[in-house]
Symmetry: C2
Subunit: 699 residues, 2 copies
């Protein structure tokens, strides 16, 4: 499947359609870049008004371009694109990059134009990148279909970006820092090829070790999770998402015309797919670079080797924030360190060799500590001093790390004086940062990835007692869009959820009879299609101990509701057995426009909204994913017996989440489910649905 | 008071004691720096083995250095320092910078040496900077007593740092970025002059507009708050604290020998003093620079003017995270924008002028929108393109912002191609960042500062009914270190806290009699000096409705406790009237080693620890500060009627915090107080202490 993308990076020949002789035109820049980086295939400018451009023969149209050619780069006004694509198709070209803008992002006619282009391409089984993009680079084949100035260093990061500007900006920002890339792909409006396709391509490509992605919106969420969780099992996928906030999403939407689902769903998808999400552009490449050249830390024990205490303290703070600790150095090793360092040096961790520390001091420390099994990471740090050459330190670090099988991240706090040192370190695959806060952030990301790779995986949920057809039947007969608790009970029951025993009464006498049968105490709840939030309107009475109490409560309820909501029709009353003691939680499902059914779990009552303490999961979920979704919340901690209180039935909560997931999968018409509260009983005693509601989409 | 610091920055003459002829020595570097930046006062190397150094007459000892001289820079081994200081004192020198290390940071003899130096200096009324520091710079007088290579641009940021390496690193990192500084001060071990002194000095200095500080530990916390809250009323104080985590604090302690108090106390102190705390070194200068050259944003409405959508989306996310929104641009103004921009440009906000945007496009946008009162901030953004010169854009932004009275922060996503543009922008006091996430963070800090300046301030708490002497008497008679609820009741009562009516019984009959008098229902609590966590051991029984129930509970309690804690002596039983319904919170006080009494407020029960939802305040507190401390928590939101539940007596909570603060101020022997739970009744009905304990320090 990823083969069809090969011509975008290693084509046999490239037609640049609309290539201009005018050096001020972008298409001219593209041709220049095609010539500049050693691309060995055919390069064919297509321009009916020129014979030669930049020394190359120009062709009047793509139909007469000679073999070999399998990629077209289109740089002509949007309205001409359909015609060009058709000509490319006729010529047998199977891949086209549409650089031009003026499509979906301008709305109206642009949207229609995109549709037309896609239809044409599909007719010829042609893949499209763009429109509204800056093209692709392959640092190995020398293909460069962009007009970006310069290229980054060759290495093993494959970078895919929806935004062309981010591609260009990145080359400018870090092009001289020695961070190694294998591919660049700017996808623009993603009419055909999207980030999932490119991630799959990079996943299968031997020169890519790490995938970095800048993403604004994902269109096919389920496919993204499916593909990326496979790829990230082998190669880390580091991702920066724009449009995390409403303002950002609005900016994205006006930019590419894409509409993003909720960020909570994105975050959940990233987590489930093993994606390492970062918060900003600098972290994207700091993390990708470290992953592409250093081993993952085995555990969280770090040693800082420094010539200055302040920056080491700042580094230590960020390390701690990301779950790393300063390793204990044994007294023996401390003595060994002290033997050759400045007598005032600190030989505990951080090892502070003082301002004048030189290359041999770093060498000494690495030699003494390099083989300690209790150390997982070394951070050599330097604040440049007038009498010490940072390049010497860099060389010492490189030389003396060669036999050390641990993660090494260097930090030199400077800009003007450390570029040679950085070049040495980066050429030898030791990442170097200039701010002391970076190593902790990078290690945190590496650790998250390691934990994901090592996570325990279980098979899918298996349920024996689901009555799928029964629910389909109920849904077929239901005309309402909203089901209250009483109405959703049969559906819940059909999927094996435990309900508090109870029945619906339509009058006083029925209510008393039901209560008599259930046994006191009972709970009384209003049953009205017009009342969703029963407690707000006085529609719930609990702990009714006697027939007397039930009667009084019923009268009061009717009186309160007819005053508070005179328009609400009272269909009856749900009389339930009072539930035993337990912990109240919420389990819900809502369909996300991008990723499909999104399960939610949180504390019951007012706390879930107050503390925003919610665990999310995208369906389908495995039992271990559902467990993680619960365990990630404070509510999950409480369920597990926080501070030696009761331990609740976590397993039953996971089972409930699984059953509701299956319900969502089986019945796409169910748009939302909220079980609130779900009562969790002590370990081994299960859960009880105390209240619930459902919302259906239009038939 | 700040006058005594003047010689550290604008001395009349400087003796460099230990100045070497050897270019590889730091002392030689200092002398070179003294000569390099236009310092007009006397410069006197002191070295008995030389006649001349770097063309200056060298003196054999400081006693023979001619006038004028009022600053000594000491660069000799630590053990010689006392003698040198005495000689300086005799010579009439009133300020000395001790560059050398080998003092407190090496422990033992170093600590004693520091004490000796301080005593000598005090004898001569001499101020000391250091030891273990890199000295000072004044970018206006040209004084440079450091051995750091290079100096930053002249401007109006005064920077004080405990770490010398951070000073040196900063010069290296940002020395070429055009960020303007007035002073640098590295304080090292802070034997005498500390960051509070320097902040006060900068506060009074006309050339300083913004103060930036790197702090590891503060010694006199109360003085820091007092001085800095005065200064920050006039000038922003931006601060980076190292040692925020345990690991960081350990690193700090091994670095300077300082022991820091808790970070929660530091954070609280910073907030109360109006300090703008930042999280990393880059933010320290991004924020300080923006504050030193741009007006504070009037409100939170931002317009992004960009040539690229992706980076604008990333910027919009960070803006939203920091409380800013993209301003609505009116349809009229949108039409005006469209008149001269690329027809495909987006004229909503972000205004995306597309990749080819040139200087005149930025000019056009600033002219159309510059006077809109609904806009508070402009962010011109650029991703450099091959056909547009960023310097032209920079010039256009500079020219067209001159008449715009709004906050302007530029962003150019690049490194190699934007240095000229940055130089132009920075020379014209428009800060420019290279990552799109920066403007949001910077604006967030500016807004926090603006809000602090505009905060409503109330006078101090005034209480009429505090029986200070009564409590002093009780304390004098108390020999225990820990008081249980029953024992602390008289102290609480003397400070006007409301207690649930109740009395101590020593046997069954007394308990029944007390309950009879109070009226049922009652609560029963064990009274034992050995039991602090009563509920964990079954030492609390609630809602006892009758004499029968009380009797049973009492028997069960004794049985449970004698089994669970056989060593615990049972002194009696506290019989209390059952409290009415209310919300349970915790109010506590703990003395911090740095800042003194630290008040705490949070949700009652298990939630306070689970959610770490705690508001802190350092005593003395004003009522408005106590209110803010409560309102900053989720518990505070619940008290104020979150989701239209009951509104509780917030005022009474503030009053309770005030009374406990006063108790802590009046009686330093009280080391800790915990009222847990404090029952908050509905509005107007006050609070009730339900349980409490106190811990005293040794007499």
């Amino acid at each position: 499947m990823t083969e069809s993308l090969a011509p975008f990076f290693s084509p046999t020949g490239v037609a640049i359609i609309g290539a201009s002789q005018d050096p001020r035109k972008l298409s001219h820049g593209i041709l220049k870049n095609m010539l500049r980086y050693g691309f060995q295939g055919g390069i064919y400018p297509v321009n009916p008004k020129a014979d030669q451009i930049l020394g190359l023969t120009a062709y009047p149209d793509v139909g007469v371009v000679p073999d070999p050619v399998d990629l077209a780069v289109v740089v002509l006004p949007a309205p001409l694109t359909p015609e060009i694509l058709r000509a490319c198709g006729e010529r047998g070209i199977k891949a086209a990059i549409i650089i031009s803008g003026g499509f979906k992002e301008v709305g109206g006619a642009g949207v229609a134009l995109e549709k037309e282009c896609l239809q044409i391409a599909q007719g010829y089984q042609m893949r499209l990148v763009g429109p509204n993009c800056v093209g692709t680079m392959d640092l190995y084949t020398g293909l460069n279909s962009t007009f970006v100035e310069g290229v980054p260093t060759r290495g093993s990061i494959g970078f895919v970006s929806q935004s062309g500007a981010v591609c260009g900006g990145v080359v400018d920002l870090i092009g001289d820092k020695g961070i190694g890339f294998s591919h660049f792909a700017s996808l623009g409006n993603e009419l055909d090829v999207n980030e999932t396709d490119v991630i799959a391509y990079f996943g299968a490509h031997p020169q890519v070790k790490v995938i970095a992605a800048y993403v604004e919106a994902i269109e096919h969420g389920q496919r993204f999770i499916e593909v990326v969780s496979q790829v990230s099992q082998e190669k880390p996928v580091v991702l920066l998402k724009a449009g995390r906030t409403n303002a950002g999403a609005k900016a994205v939407s006006s930019h590419t015309g894409s509409l993003a689902g909720s960020y909570a769903a994105y975050q959940t998808a990233f987590k489930q797919a093993g994606v390492i999400e970062v918060e900003d552009l600098s972290a994207l490449f700091d993390v990708a670079w470290a992953l592409s050249c250093q081993p993952l830390p085995k555990d969280n024990q770090v040693v800082i080797l420094t010539n200055s205490g302040g920056p080491a303290a700042l580094a230590a703070d960020t390390l701690a924030t990301h779950g790393f600790t300063l390793a204990e150095i044994t007294p023996e090793k401390q003595s060994q360190l002290a033997e050759k360092l400045n007598p005032s040096a600190q030989v505990a961790n951080p090892v502070d060799m003082l301002g004048g520390a030189e290359a041999h001091d770093f060498e000494h420390c690495l030699n003494v500590l390099g083989d300690q099994p209790s150390i997982d990471v070394f951070i050599p740090m330097l604040v440049p001093q007038s009498l010490v050459d940072p390049a010497d330190i860099a060389r010492a670090v490189v030389e003396n790390s060669k036999t050390i099988d641990k993660t090494i991240l260097a930090c030199m706090v400077g800009e003007q004086s450390i570029s040679e040192a950085r070049a040495i370190l980066h050429a030898n695959k030791i990442p170097m940062s200039t701010y002391p806060e970076v190593p902790g952030k990078v290690l945190g990301a590496m650790r998250t990835y390691r934990q994901w790779r090592q996570r325990s995986q279980t098979g899918p949920f298996v349920f024996s007692n689901l009555e799928k057809d029964r629910v389909a039947e109920i849904l077929a007969q239901t005309e309402q869009r909203v089901l209250t608790e009483a109405e959703s009970r049969p559906i819940m029951a059909a999927y094996g959820l435990n309900l508090v025993p109870g029945q619906i009464a339509t009058n006083h006498d029925e209510a008393l009879a039901i209560a008599e049968e259930l046994g006191y105490p009972v709970a009384l709840k209003i049953f009205s299609p017009h009342i969703l939030h029963k407690s707000d309107l006085g529609g719930i009475a609990l702990n009714l101990n006697s027939a007397e109490a039930l009667k009084t409560a019923l009268q009061r309820m009717v009186a309160t509701i007819t005053t508070a909501a005179p328009q609400a029709e009272i269909s009856g009353f749900l009389v339930q057995k009072m539930a035993p003691k337990g912990m109240e939680v919420i389990v819900g499902m809502k369909r996300d426009s991008t990723f499909g059914p999104l399960m939610m779990f949180g504390l019951g009552g007012v706390y879930v909204e107050l503390f925003k303490d919610i665990g999310f999961g995208i369906v389908p979920l495995t039992p271990s994913q559902a467990l993680e979704m619960v365990a990630s919340t404070k509510a999950g901690q409480l369920l597990q017996g926080y501070r030696s209180k009761v331990v609740y039935d976590l397993h039953a909560v996971v089972d409930t989440i699984g059953r509701l997931s299956q319900l969502a999968l089986d019945h796409p018409r169910i748009a939302e489910v909220e079980v609130n509260p779900l009562l969790v009983l002590p370990e081994g005693e299960g859960t009880l649905v105390l209240d619930a509601r459902m919302i259906f989409s239009e038939n």
